[in-house]
């Protein structure tokens, strides 16, 4: 029997009080996610249970019990407090998937500061705009990433502390840098967790916008109420499970369901800080006897591409529940997983702003391969007309996905950008920016984005951000960035580039521009293809018409071109 039992029954009498009761929380109480992830589990008598099984580069392994992560997060919280960092100041976590990242986020939350996780593959420009916007006061990082911070330090006067978690004293520390080794530091057994309340800010996640710079999505400690229950009912975690979430905590999935969900449930989770290969992943599942696996369509399609023979070399019989998130999971992937694992991947839909799963396929509910599933109990969802924003009653008609505001994990605002936050609401509905339709049985079917944002491998990339960075390349006069279809990543970045006089298109130029963006922004934002063009399609007012180029890439109708500038 699954945790959710009957989906239909749960929908009938749902209240978020179910989650509050299970977490022994009453309105007005102190609620601190960090405490719930560690101290509460220890108080329940699970201090000796494994919280984290970590496997890093070269097979380096480390295990941490709940008592270990309680003490180590206390140690980190004490260190933060001793640095003079105040509650609600932003502390960035800029690390690979190492134990210090997972335990560090918990420590930051316990201290009352706001954790700002950032993907460690970000280049210096991506890092700068996010640290500048958040007015971040401290950053936890590794030696290997510190050069990116040093490069932009002059532009970050508010950044007071650069905390290096693996300093080996080979080279001297520089301005504002301090070494902190979690394992060597004296463990703190007792720390008074900062008494955050429901609406106290907890996390600041950055997400890409279509026309502006990245937006800081502000979440609060009360988000735990949604994150806990969705983990329990969608991911179906149980006390004896070994859970593996493949998402990086630099992104929201890696936090909501890679730290908060499993640890507030007191479940053992595995972390793998290795790059992707089918052999390495199957071997990891076999070795750790993973039972519940939460992954992404890109990874699943990469595994499909690696073939079925490799699977036969491993014993994957420990697996009992599979789920997916990040981008739509195509029906072929669901059918494939059923064939090779004897289990279907359960697709789930949500985004950074929603903080927790909104639409999903549930254990014990019939899966329609390719469908997003149905709204989580307590979530009022529909699709609305793109003009009137009124709910569409006809089945099968495409509209914008819409949610009635008010679920616990919903973002509270965009950091220093309330106007953009308000613009996400129309006619009383929150619009995540995706198009879908609903079938006769109430299942949602994803159609596409309603804007130019590129979803590559489950990560959103802003064309605007890539175009801005391209302009900084000495040879680029102007550019237009769009998505192009890709089997593994669903979409990848393609750039149309006009060169300045005196520069010529060549294979070397192509590679130089690719590497320029990879280092400046991130590998995700790097154009996988560059097409050099003499000019770009523009409106008569001079605005680049990305949609013309995008339609060309996707083999779609170009649509109305009446405003297109004459050649």
């Amino acid at each position: 029997m699954s945790n959710i039992g009957s989906y239909d029954e749960r929908v009938k009498d749902f209240s978020w009080e179910i989650s509050e009761r299970e977490l022994e929380y009453k309105p007005g109480d102190v609620i601190n996610i960090g405490w719930y992830c560690t101290d509460r589990i220890c108080l329940k008598g699970k201090g000796d249970k494994l919280a984290l099984k970590y496997e890093g580069l070269g097979g380096r392994e480390k295990n941490y019990t709940y008592n270990d992560i309680r003490q180590l997060s206390n140690t980190i919280a004490t260190f933060i407090r001793d640095l003079g960092i105040q509650p609600e100041e932003r502390v960035c976590m800029f690390m690979d998937r190492i134990p210090e990242l997972y335990i560090g986020v918990v420590g930051v939350l316990k201290s009352g500061a706001i954790a700002q996780p950032l993907f460690s593959a970000f280049g210096d420009e991506s890092l700068l705009v996010r640290l500048e916007n958040a007015e971040t006061c401290a950053i936890f990082t590794q030696k290997k990433h510190v050069s990116k911070i040093r490069k932009i330090l002059d532009k970050l006067p508010k950044l007071r502390h650069i905390i290096i978690v693996d300093d080996n004293q080979k080279s001297p520390l520089q301005d504002r840098e301090v070494a902190f080794n979690m394992e060597d530091a004296e463990r703190v057994d007792v720390f008074e967790t900062y008494p955050t309340l429901a609406e106290s800010p907890s996390l600041l996640h950055y997400t890409s916008g279509t026309t502006g710079m990245p937006k800081g999505v502000k979440h609060v400690h009360y988000a735990l109420i949604s994150q806990y229950l969705t983990t329990k009912w969608v991911l179906d975690l149980k006390d004896d499970d070994i859970y593996w979430c493949t998402a990086d905590p630099g992104w929201v999935t890696g936090i909501s369901y890679g730290i908060i969900g499993p640890w507030t449930m007191g479940v053992t989770q595995c972390v793998n800080d290795m790059g992707f290969s089918a052999d390495a992943w199957y071997s990891f599942i076999q070795k750790h006897k993973v039972t519940v696996w939460y992954s992404a369509p890109t990874a699943i399609r990469s595994l499909m591409k690696a073939g079925d023979d490799v699977i036969k070399q491993y014993d994957l019989s420990s697996l009992r529940h599979l789920a997916s998130v990040g981008e739509p999971l195509n029906s072929e992937a669901v059918v494939w997983s059923d064939k090779v694992f004897g289990l279907k991947f359960h697709d789930s839909y949500w985004q950074t702003e929603t903080g927790s799963i909104m639409i999903s396929n549930y254990p014990d509910m019939k899966i329609k391969p390719g469908s997003m599933g149905k709204p989580f109990p307590g979530i009022t969802a529909c699709v609305v007309d793109t003009e009137t924003f009124e709910p569409i009653r006809e089945t099968g008609k495409i509209g914008l996905i819409a949610f009635k505001p008010g679920w616990p994990a919903m973002m509270r605002t965009y950091w220093n950008n309330e106007a953009t936050y308000q613009a996400k609401f129309k006619n009383g509905w929150y619009l995540p920016g995706d198009r879908a339709y609903i079938d006769l049985d109430g299942y949602y079917w994803f159609v596409g984005r309603d804007d130019d944002i590129i979803n590559t491998g489950g990560h959103l990339v802003s064309p605007f951000e890539v175009e801005s960075a391209l302009l900084e390349h000495p040879a680029v006069a102007e550019s237009a960035v769009v998505s192009k279809p890709d089997f593994v990543n669903m979409e990848v970045v393609k750039a149309f580039v006009c060169l300045k006089p005196g520069f010529e298109a060549s294979e070397e130029m192509d590679l130089d521009i690719m590497n320029f963006i990879r280092k400046k922004l991130s590998p995700l934002a790097m154009p996988q293809e560059i097409e050099f063009v003499p000019n770009l399609p523009k409106t008569r007012s001079g605005k680049i018409m990305r949609r013309v180029l995008k339609a060309q890439e996707w083999g779609e109708e170009i649509g109305d071109t009446s405003t297109l500038e004459d050649d």
């Binding site: 580069l57 070269g58 690979d96 593959a121 590794q142 030696k143 290997k144 990433h145 050069s147 990116k148 080996n168 080979k170 080279s171 800080d273 290795m274 790059g275 992707f276 290969s277 089918a278 052999d279 390495a280 990469s302 591409k305 690696a306 590559t456 491998g457 593994v488 294979e507 070397e508 192509d510 590679l511 690719m514 590497n515 990879r518 590998p523 995700l524 790097m526 996988q528």
Partner: protein, 82 residues
């Protein structure tokens, strides 16, 4: 072979290695070792194709084939021989 190997190693160090103190060799895992991710693999493949005037089909350019300098060298030689 040695020349290709050294050129590839030098390129990986120059373009993908973030930690100046980190030392890598011909058999260091690049993809599973987290030095080159799946997105960056595209730029590494482009470098090889430009440098050696070869075309590596996507189905041959999987993470396993790119997981070390030695494996990449073997792949390049395979296409140079064609």
């Amino acid at each position: 072979m040695d020349e290709i190997r050294d050129i590839v190693l030098a390129y990986v160090i120059k373009e993908y290695l973030e930690d100046p103190d980190e030392e890598i060799g011909y058999d260091t895992p690049l993809i599973t070792g987290g030095i080159v991710d799946s997105f960056s693999m595209v730029s590494l493949k482009r470098f090889l194709e430009n440098k050696y005037k070869i075309s590596i089909p996507d189905e041959k350019a999987g993470p396993e084939a790119f997981d070390s300098v030695n494996k990449i060298t073997k792949l390049v030689q395979e296409f140079l021989a064609k």
